[in-house]
């Protein structure tokens, strides 16, 4: 009898321990978010329910840090959200890798790289046809 019960018991306990992963895998609807989360993720209110649960989870993790941001960073955060969710998971992963690599640079070097990027962007704005991100096609 004991031998028959034992595998079941082990499976039950392991399943219980794995329950957190299962809960985490489920999506969250916009109405389930608390007011602080809704405030941080407000630009995504209309498309939130259609987002991938994993993406929702990452955004919720980012939204946790929103209250501590400066007003200027809060504005950037919300302005960038719609563009961020439009990226593919691969693009977001690539962006994360680049961000991590930039963070490792010494401050002076980082500022130099940022300056170069700004200059490059400025020259691109002067010639919109060679923009990094494809512009909305002209009709």
């Amino acid at each position: 009898m004991i031998k028959a019960r034992l595998p079941g018991l082990i499976i039950c306990i392991t399943l219980l321990l794995q329950a957190n992963f299962a809960v985490a895998a489920a999506g969250t609807s916009w109405s389930q978010l608390d007011p602080a989360q809704q405030e941080a993720l407000h630009p995504l209110s209309t498309q939130w329910d259609t987002l991938d649960p994993r993406q929702q989870k990452h955004l919720l993790s980012a939204a946790k840090r929103y209250p501590k941001l400066t007003p200027e960073k809060k504005l950037r955060f919300q302005n960038n959200l719609p563009k961020w969710v439009k990226l593919t998971p691969e693009q977001r992963n690539r962006a994360r890798e680049k961000s991590k690599a930039l963070k490792k640079l010494p401050p002076a070097k980082l500022e130099h790289v940022k300056q170069q990027v700004r200059e490059r962007e400025a020259s691109k704005s002067a010639a919109p046809a060679s923009s990094v991100m494809p512009a909305t096609p002209a009709h």
Binding site: L17, S61, A62, Y66, L69, N80, A95, S99, E121
Partner: protein, 116 residues
């Protein structure tokens, strides 16, 4: 030679033997039966943890059963450890992703730079 006994014959033989027993022996047998029944009841009411040898009243397991309990406890501990480690690693990774995402979203450089 060896006559095959039917259950009914065995019962009759046993009844006859009991009738020949003295009262103190019968009393001891009755007590032993009562104790055995009480132990059986206590064991069947013990929670599932008894399987892992954690129930205090669990002291009647045979050698092989105890070995079994020991392995069950080891397997359960390993499963808990593995699940805990996996969950911790997962949570850590998610925390890091959230932090990096905020850094990108709040940077003064446009997002396109990171995707380029």
């Amino acid at each position: 030679m060896n006559k095959q006994l039917q259950p009914e014959q065995i019962r009759q033989l046993l009844n006859r033997s009991i009738a020949q027993m003295d009262q103190p022996t019968l009393a001891r047998l009755r007590d032993a039966r009562t104790q055995a029944l009480a132990r059986h009841e206590a064991r069947s009411q013990a929670p599932a943890f008894a399987l892992a040898g954690l129930w205090p009243g669990h002291g009647h397991a045979t050698g092989s059963q105890q070995k079994h309990y020991h392995w069950a406890a080891v397997i359960l501990f390993a499963a808990c450890l593995f699940s805990g480690a996996a969950y911790w690693q997962h949570a850590n990774k998610e925390h890091d992703i959230g932090e990096v995402d905020v850094a990108i979203l709040t940077d003064d450089l446009p997002i396109e730079i990171y995707v380029d």
